[in-house]
């Protein structure tokens, strides 16, 4: 792999950038691989990278129906945090956070992980109770997360409106300083480049038609638009389309896919230093390194694969932003787009083995998949390589929906009485 560095940049600059090589080849499928990963998003490419890097499995193909990184990896609002309530979630997301901190150096690709702090606003007594519970649990789990008074919150994020007359007055906030954002496309590209350099084939524009199983029920490979690809191990990491792919292997999933919308404003000079989330009014906002305000919306009420999504939801989201940050009322929306998120009944991911021999799955991340990218990919690689759960992804099984051992972060933030 051609190393990136300040020197190489300078050298190439002086030679008119004629000598940069392609970051990953446009591979065509071989007849057989040790592992086929379905879905070339950050999660799938990352899993391939860690398979090659940490488990020496390089005969790997990552196949995607479109272009790599063209799904939710390239459509999300790039929020990264790990201050989750339950031990299982906290471990997984904090593991991801540890990997995020060194990812640029590890991949030799600047993914611009920006530790600018994620602040979650409390608007009522119930929020305060819920956040305190998170903060205490995080402290005992070694996850950083602290309480801010509303004045401290204002000091940390000056545009914030802390007037007591607000419809939903700010009563305080929880701040995770280690959290922040990253450059989403760079994550997919960085993993793709590093994986390809280790021999992984990245096969784009190659829709999977079905997962093929043998007489013994075990996985044999995948039928694709470019023909059958033999593989004893197949890992599905297809986000919104996971149900469809798994269905072809005869595995029915506890998933529903919803449209999720996001938007950016016109670029302005730095005004917004951190990431702010308000679950009560549904406002999620940060400012990109380009100067755009990046704003996350909620999911539409109905399941859909259309990547469209309606106007009313966007109107509410923007109203919420202007309620919490009144100075943005005259800012302009530049672009809004939709993604498809796959949601499980307990809003936590499914990550690991399936009832089918040789079939692995990584899905159900809902609206929070980006932040987990390195952690999910890293532990999925382990599970695929050893055909056993990683201590960190072990709780995120399919079985939990049978036994009732749910990891219900959403319910834990139950609505107020």
């Amino acid at each position: 792999m051609q190393r990136f560095s300040a020197m190489s940049l300078l050298k190439n600059a002086l030679t008119g950038h004629k000598n940069w090589r392609e970051q990953w080849p446009d591979s065509q499928p071989k007849a057989e691989y040790d592992v086929v990963i379905v879905g070339a998003g950050g999660h799938g490419l990352g899993a391939a990278y860690y398979l090659a890097k940490e488990h020496g499995i390089t005969n790997v193909a990552v196949i995607d129906k479109g272009w790599l990184g063209g799904g939710n990896t390239g459509r999300n609002t790039t929020i990264i945090r790990s201050n989750y309530l339950y031990d299982e979630s906290a471990r997984l997301y904090d593991h991801a956070l540890d990997l995020w901190e060194n990812l640029s150096q590890d991949l030799n690709y600047n993914v611009m992980y920006s530790k600018r702090g994620v602040m979650m606003l409390a608007h009522n007594v119930h929020d305060v109770q819920s956040f305190q519970r998170h903060i205490h649990a995080n402290r005992l789990n070694g996850v950083d997360n602290r309480w801010l008074t509303k004045e401290e919150a204002k000091a940390f994020c000056p545009p914030l409106n802390i007037s007591p007359d607000a419809r939903y007055p700010v009563m305080g906030a929880a701040l995770q300083m280690r959290a922040g954002t990253a450059r989403h496309d760079a994550v997919a590209w960085g993993y793709a480049r590093a994986a390809a350099a280790r021999g992984v084939d990245i096969i784009q524009n190659c829709p999977v038609i079905a997962i093929r199983r043998g007489a013994d029920g075990a996985v044999e490979g995948v039928d694709t638009a470019k023909g059958f690809i033999r593989a004893k191990k197949v890992a599905v990491s297809a986000a919104g389309n996971t149900s469809v792919v798994m269905d072809s292997a005869g595995v029915r999933m506890p998933l529903e896919s919803y449209p999720l919308q996001a938007l950016v404003s016109e670029p302005v000079k730095p005004i917004f230093p951190c990431v702010v989330m308000s679950n009560t009014v549904h406002a999620y906002i940060s400012q990109s390194d380009k100067g755009e305000l990046v704003i996350g919306s909620g999911t539409d009420q109905y399941t859909s694969y259309s990547q469209r999504g309606g106007l009313p939801l966007i109107e509410h989201t923007v109203a919420a932003i202007c309620e919490v940050f009144p100075i943005f009322n005259r800012m302009r929306m530049l672009r809004k787009w939709g993604g498809i998120v796959d949601v499980t009944p307990d809003r936590s991911a499914i990550l690991g083995k399936t009832p089918v021999k040789g079939l692995y799955v990584n899905c159900g991340w809902g609206t929070g998949g980006f932040k987990a990218t390195p952690g999910a990919a890293h532990t999925l690689a382990w599970t695929v390589a050893r055909d056993e759960p990683h201590p960190i992804n072990a709780p995120f099984t399919l079985e939990r929906f049978t036994t009732g051992r749910l990891i219900d972060e959403a319910a834990a933030a139950a609505v107020a009485h």
Partner: protein
Amino acid sequence: MLLIHCPYCDETLPEVEFAYAGEAHIARPADPSALTDEEWRDYLFIRTNARGPHYERWRHVHGCGRFFNALRDTVTDRFVTTYRIDEPRPVLTPLEAAE
């Protein structure tokens, strides 16, 4: 914003009057206690999540208040048909399926 035909009001009305109510034709088992944990899980959690024609339920919550069924293409979001809760699941014509 979708337009939805309420089979009870027999009018096509804006989505904001309606609430989505999940996949249709998942009947509550007559005797849940007779079910295995797996069967009960399937009832509780397993969903088709179809990419294409999808049988689903809506409630005309800000109108007549009725729950009803719909067949909607989840790729185009276009409704093929809506029907009363007591009506049988309409058979999908190949043409509609092709959509």
